[in-house]
């Protein structure tokens, strides 16, 4: 199979894997699509009731809007770095094929 075809299939399957749950899974108890990292707290509370957190974050995003924009920023920085590398490689391989271009 050509790499391009494979990649279209890979991307399609990944998108399907994230969209499918939104359509067909019904969340169990509690908040729909809450984070599994956050669910840990409830289990700790059952295993050791009254466990006191002994340290809290130095800084907490003041609202969920700001938090989501910071997550967006993290993804943007990452995508920027990755795509810079991809573009650089593509540019240099094109130049190697056709030095006059």
């Amino acid at each position: 199979m050509k790499t391009k075809t494979t990649n279209v299939l890979l991307a399609g399957a990944t998108v399907a894997l994230s969209v499918l749950p939104l359509v067909c899974s019904r969340p169990a108890t509690g908040e729909a699509f809450s984070g599994s990292d956050g669910q840990v707290g409830a289990v700790i509370e059952q295993l050791r009731p009254g466990y006191r957190l002994w340290f809290s974050p130095l800084w907490v995003p003041p609202s969920s809007e700001i938090e989501s924009s910071l997550f967006g920023l993290q993804a943007a920085i990452g995508a920027g770095a990755l795509c810079y590398a991809l573009g650089y490689l593509r540019g240099s391989s094109n130049r190697m094929k056709d030095p006059n271009a």
Binding site: T3, T6, N7, L10, A11, A13, T14, L17, S18, P21, L22, C24, S25, R26, P27, A32, F33, S34, G35, S36, D37, G38, Q39, V40, V43, I44, L47, R48, Y51, L53, W54, F55, S56, P57, L58, W59, V60, P61, E67, L70, F71, G72, Q74, A75, I77, G78, A79, G80, A81, L82, C83, Y84, A85, L86, Y88, L89, R90, S92, S93, M96
Partner: protein
Amino acid sequence: MHIMEGYLPIEHALGWSVVSAPFLGFGFYRLSSRIKEDSSAKLFLGACAGFAFVLSALKLPSLTGSCSHPTGVGLGAILLGPATMSVLGAVVLLFQALFLAHGGLTTLGANAFSMAIVGSFVAWSVHAVSIRVRVPVGAAIFLSALLSDLATYATTALQLGLAFPDSQGGSVVSTARFLLVFLPTQLPLAVSEGLLTVFVINLLGSHLGDDKRFHGLTGVAR
């Protein structure tokens, strides 16, 4: 897999930091000598760090009705080697602990151990073994990213299980309970991570021609 700030008792927090430190120290040494040897290595470092930044920022819905996120360390572990990638993974975790209140400074050692260190070494070993037994390159990459993702979450469950043993069944029972929180949600996400890692390696590879620096496509990075 982020254990939140203050969740681990102080002796566990310190213990995991001590365990992680030598790996990260060695990784930092490998990272800096790699940059000195070959300045174009920065491009691959940037690409792999970027991938981990993107993937660990994306909290994706899973079939269980919960959300979780992939880790993105498989790519770098395959292309750069596990020691180097573990440093980049730890940088991602530090960023999230400082600016997002996601994870934490006291739990940084534990989180770095599960995601950056275990994640990288599992990805790298699975890839190395798969290539050795002649698994096709794409399948080898898929498998190593998938298992690296799952191993990371299993390690987190173990860390929490050790810190909070069940009053009757001890750490075995509590670890199982934490595994039950993570793994069903994580399984489809680990598949996504495997697919995405193959996708990105295909993209990188299609522009490289016969560039031999890109070890991961054909052989095994150190």
